[in-house]
């Protein structure tokens, strides 16, 4: 693993009409680390995620995951290779229970087809058991076992974020992409979420996240990439980024107090 980066992005570009939302970005992310992407609004962060997850094809450039060229692959194949993601707005199956939401998360690791359903094959029964077990496991991991049978409608915003994490985890990913996981939740909950992210990394999952909450990023990230107008303007440790004049100019602002 060590010699091979988990994710290697070269010259990645995405154009919408005349606008280059992501422009010639090259970067590598190491396994077992927390990598953060920050940047002003519209810098192209979400687009960057969309490209990595295969939700849209890049206009140019390549994406290598664990040494394999995944450029232009469909999102479901990429998910099966081990990249999971959460969305900027949390999407869940509102009218099912938490556990039911999670069972389908492990579907991609199963083989059962319609035929198995018709004959109720052993494989199907085994796999359903496996999915259920995995769901319970990830739920426990995010610390929501007590909510297993509650409906998504009934749980709080922060709990939903956790369920979304769990859903991503249920796919058995190598890498999870988190798009503003702490958006819209309060400082205390943000801190809890940060520890959850650390816990994910401890369990061998690499994380890549987008956030605007600087204190969280600075304490969490091993490495930060800064995007502006689609271009990578800086890359480095939190310490380096904090003091990078380019970043301060474009993003952080000189007055520190708004970050309180």
């Amino acid at each position: 693993m060590a010699e091979q980066p988990l994710l290697k992005i070269s010259n990645l570009t995405k154009r919408f009409g005349g606008l280059a939302a992501v422009n010639d970005v090259s970067v590598t992310f190491e396994a077992g680390k927390i990598n953060a992407i920050i940047g002003p609004n519209g810098a192209g962060k979400t687009t960057f995620f969309n490209l990595v997850a295969g939700a849209m094809p890049p206009s140019d450039g390549t994406i290598e995951f664990q040494g394999m060229d995944v450029t232009g692959m469909s999102p479901d194949r990429i998910a099966r290779l081990g990249i999971a993601r959460t969305f900027q707005t949390t999407m869940l199956f509102e009218q099912s229970t938490v556990l039911d939401n999670l069972i389908v998360g492990h579907r991609l690791r199963t083989q059962s087809r319609l035929w198995d359903v018709i004959i109720n094959s052993k494989r199907l029964r085994d796999e359903e058991k496996k999915c259920r077990a995995r769901a319970a496991e990830v739920l426990d991991f995010v610390g929501l076992s007590h909510l297993a049978n509650r409906f998504i409608l009934d749980i709080s915003q922060e709990e939903r974020k956790r369920v979304a994490f769990a859903l991503a985890m249920a796919t058995d990913p190598e890498l999870v992409l988190l798009d503003e996981p702490a958006g819209g939740i309060n400082p205390e909950e943000t801190e809890n979420l940060a520890s959850l992210i650390r816990k994910m990394v401890r369990h061998g999952i690499s994380v890549c996240l987008i956030e605007h909450k600087m204190d969280m990023i600075m304490s969490l990230a091993d490495k930060i990439m800064v995007l502006d107008h689609g271009e990578k303007i800086a890359e480095g440790t939190p310490e380096q980024i904090k003091n990078d004049p380019v970043v301060i100019e474009a993003y952080l602002g000189s007055d520190e107090d708004v970050e309180a």
Partner: protein, 235 residues
């Protein structure tokens, strides 16, 4: 200016506001603090008429406005910049802003002036003014939403988590903008997660928990309050 007396609001059976009474004087900048789901948005929606109060009374400058239609409230100068933005995604940014001035549509010159003011505040919108609002990034859309609310030339401006999803630099700009709007004479009611930044520009604040107002105080009192610091500012 705005006065709420024992206002209740319900979603089907669930009571989301419970006996809320508050008072906002003209020219104030009042901050509403509260955790997720505490009822901040519900309160705003009730004031702006999107939700009907199930009990209690809301009055504006002494006049009873309980149960009035949202359009009537906008006419009366109560404008909300909602959570979730609620833009017109397929219209251009410019059209979105112009529609914000819908109630002043006969005053073309005035609208032009406000528009210039807004574009000055958010220069990026000037570059994007012919793009569909839905194609903008989250933060850019937030700017459009604030701009659109300003176009209504509100007497009372309600901002529901305006900093949500904004870069720190922009957050700072937004708070400065809010402050200057307020200085120019607009009363502001601000719901925020970013409590510290909000309190710094506030005159007064309320804390809402589970649909009830549990605390009230001016800026210094709030900033100094240990419980508030712990719950909403962190560290």
């Amino acid at each position: 200016m705005l006065k709420l007396e024992n206002v209740d609001a319900r979603y089907e059976g669930f009571k989301a506001l419970d006996g809320v009474s508050m008072n906002v004087e003209a020219g104030e900048l009042v901050v509403l603090l509260g955790a997720n789901g505490a009822g901040k948005s519900t309160l705003f929606n009730t004031i702006s008429g999107l939700l009907k109060a199930s009990a209690g009374r809301i009055s504006l400058n002494g006049e009873d406005v309980t149960g009035k239609k949202p359009s009537a409230l906008v006419q009366a100068g109560v404008v909300q910049c909602p959570e979730g933005r609620k833009l017109f995604p397929e219209m251009s940014v410019l059209k979105n802003l112009m529609l914000g001035g819908y109630v002043h549509r006969r005053d073309r010159a005035g609208m032009k002036k406000t528009l210039d003011h807004v574009l000055e505040m958010f220069p990026i919108l000037n570059d994007k003014k012919d793009d569909a609002a839905g194609s903008l990034s989250g933060g850019q859309q937030q700017m459009v939403a604030i701009g659109r609310a300003l176009m209504g030339r509100p007497k009372l401006l309600m901002l529901d988590e305006p900093s949500l999803g904004l870069a720190p630099l922009v957050v700072k700009q937004v708070f400065e903008a809010v402050q200057s709007i307020n200085r120019e004479g607009t009363t502001v009611l601000l719901a925020e997660q970013n409590a510290f930044a909000a309190l710094k520009i506030a005159t007064r604040a309320y804390v809402i928990e589970n649909g009830r107002l549990v605390m009230e105080g001016d800026r210094e009192a709030m900033l100094g309050n240990e419980a508030v610091r712990k719950a909403y500012i962190g560290a």
